[in-house]
């Protein structure tokens, strides 16, 4: 079975500083990779996804992530954060073997706290 590990439960960062949220996955087969963001009292919104091709993926709101197959990682980065980026961030995977329609397997989430 696949699993997702987000090593940091909370990441405090000063406004306009860069940030990296870490994500590692474990799977015996290839996976598709996703990052979702959840603002308070809202549903999850897709930030970006990696299906194939270039390992550097750009998403919405200035976020990007890099897929590293040898390290089974998919870390999320942003060069300069804003107060509005304060939210919970979830890394997730879907198995390729399921054709891409399976349910997402999520990590426990990382709470990004932006300090003024």
């Amino acid at each position: 079975a696949q699993s997702v590990t987000q090593l940091d439960s909370q990441v405090p960062v000063f406004e306009e500083a860069p940030v990296e949220l870490r994500c590692n996955y474990s799977s015996s087969v290839s996976v598709y990779l996703f990052w979702y963001v959840q603002y308070p009292n809202q549903g999850l919104q897709l930030l970006l996804k990696y299906l194939s091709g270039s390992t550097l993926v750009k998403g919405i709101n200035g976020f990007e992530a890099e897929f590293n197959k040898s390290q089974t990682s998919f870390h999320l980065r942003k060069p300069s954060v804003h107060i509005s980026d304060t939210a919970e961030y979830f890394c997730a995977v879907i198995l390729l073997s399921g054709g891409g329609a399976d349910g997402l397997t999520f990590g426990k989430g990382t709470h990004l706290i932006i300090q003024p």
């Binding site: 997702v4 598709y32 996703f34 809202q42 549903g43 996804k49 054709g99 891409g100 329609a101 349910g103």
Partner: protein, 117 residues
């Protein structure tokens, strides 16, 4: 375009009472998911529908949980009877599945926050 709609947004019940959650997916989306999100955790899949067929319900606690998706559009998730441990946020998501081998984007609703006293 309207997103995924869920109701109610909040529900407080006493244990052993029944409860139901409703989801209206994005128009035209043929795949529908129900997830449960416990406090401080990521969502976990309960059931997945393709049109009106439940194709993956392996994580649904069938002794007390049931779900239906009549006519392949709206869906209802029911718990009867509710237990204290069922307190969580129940999320509905939908996607448009055109063909196999592609990871379709799942669009999430705002969720229903259930509190069981």
């Amino acid at each position: 375009e309207a997103g995924v709609v869920q109701s109610p947004r909040y529900k407080i019940i006493e244990k052993k009472q029944p409860v139901a959650f409703w989801c209206n997916p994005i128009s035209g989306h043929n795949t529908l998911y129900w997830y449960r999100q416990n406090l401080g955790q990521g969502p976990e899949l309960l059931i997945r529908y393709e049109n009106e067929e439940a194709v993956d319900d392996s994580q649904l606690p069938k002794d007390r949980f049931s779900a239906e998706r009549l006519k392949g559009v709206d869906s209802t998730l029911k718990i009867q009877p509710a237990e204290l441990g069922d307190s969580a946020v129940y999320l509905c998501a939908s996607s448009l599945r055109l063909y196999s081998g592609r990871a379709d984007t799942q669009y999430f609703g705002p969720g229903t926050r259930l509190t069981v006293l």
